[in-house]
């Protein structure tokens, strides 16, 4: 129970820190990294929620959701990074 609380609590902390960094920092790259940290916090919480004690196997449904979430996060990050790079290119041209 304590481990579950610590792990999930750490996830919530990452979530809040990510939002903070996303709102406060101006550079696009930092915002993308911050959003990824926010997402990592959510994954932490989902994994912590999947724990059902030492006797029972963990709940596979949140695990599958996290796996799906990671792929979506990677896709969105890749697109955001390229968009940011193009934005910088067009700024340099101007």
């Amino acid at each position: 129970m304590t481990a579950q609380l610590l792990y999930g609590g750490a996830g919530l902390m990452l979530f809040v820190l990510g939002i903070w960094s996303f709102l406060v920092h101006e550079p696009l790259l930092r915002k993308v990294i911050a959003l990824n940290i926010t997402g990592a916090g959510v994954f932490h919480v989902l994994i912590a929620v999947a724990y059902r004690g030492d006797a029972a196997p963990p709940d596979p449904v949140p695990h599958a959701l996290v796996l799906t979430g990671i792929v979506v996060a990677v896709s969105a990050t890749a697109l955001a990074l390229i968009l940011g790079a193009r934005l910088q290119d067009s700024d340099d041209d101007a």
Partner: protein
């Protein structure tokens, strides 16, 4: 000294002060949010076990054709979800390609790095195949395997191949849609035989899932490597001064 409220030009010192105040307010609000969420989370944990999907999901695993419950959830119970996830990956890559040709690659690696790459890349491909197979009964599966293939592509591009070792554009397009295509065709084929969309008959489930996962692995690996390349593949033009390094 005029009253700053009526100053026409923003006073930088005052602006910085307001900025700091805003950040402080934000920090306080976010700290409150964090404390509230942690409290709710702790309360929910202490409330004890509510009925959840785990028991149902674990009880039906023998009928899903795989022994790993996470794979069963991904490829059987929530197969729609995984199909859409592949579509998201494809859409992200189309977005990247729509932004123009890929930026220039890196310079060709020296003999030491090139030698290491020729060792590591085949190893990653073999490890990817192992991951794909092991996903049937232990942690692993198409996404992990695809990630390893994508990592191989990243290494090849870092070592100087501008196309990250990927085939030509036409072949890349086919490989990219392969995951969604095979997934959808299997689903529609099952409908043709009277089952629901992506409702596998238990006897065939193992092989259908393996088929879908193999196609998905290739598609994910190519999509990740192509996303790292960062643009539409360009035919190496005669104007391109860099010789295109072929990966071993």
């Amino acid at each position: 000294m005029t009253d700053p409220t009526f100053a026409t030009r923003p006073d930088p010192a005052r602006a910085a002060e307001r900025d700091r105040d805003l950040k402080l307010l934000l920090a306080v609000l976010l700290a409150l949010l964090g404390v509230t969420m942690t409290a709710i989370y702790a309360l929910a944990l202490n409330a004890g076990a509510a009925p959840r999907l785990a028991d149902l999901a674990l009880a039906r695993v023998p009928q899903t054709g795989v022994d790993n419950p996470v794979t069963a959830v991904l490829l059987n119970y929530r197969a729609y979800d995984t199909l859409m996830e592949l579509a998201v990956l494809l859409a992200a890559l189309l977005g990247i390609w729509s932004l123009g040709p890929a930026p220039a690659g890196f310079q060709r690696s020296g003999p030491v790095l090139a030698g290491m790459v020729s060792w590591v890349v085949p190893l990653l491909i073999v490890a990817g195949g192992y991951m794909l197979w092991v996903g049937g009964y232990a942690p692993g599966g198409a996404f992990q395997a695809g990630a390893l293939l994508g990592a191989a592509g990243v290494i090849v591009r870092l070592a100087g191949d501008p196309q990250a070792g990927l085939p030509g554009e036409a072949a890349q397009r086919w490989l990219l849609v392969l995951g969604v295509l095979v997934f959808t065709l299997v689903g529609l084929g099952l409908m043709l035989f009277g089952a629901g969309f992506l409702t596998y008959p238990p006897k065939l489930a193992k092989w259908l899932i393996l088929l879908i996962e193999s196609a998905a692995t290739l598609a994910i690996g190519v999509a990740l490597a192509a996303a790292y390349v960062g643009g539409r593949p360009t035919a190496t033009s005669p104007l391109d001064p860099r010789p295109s390094a072929q990966p071993k």
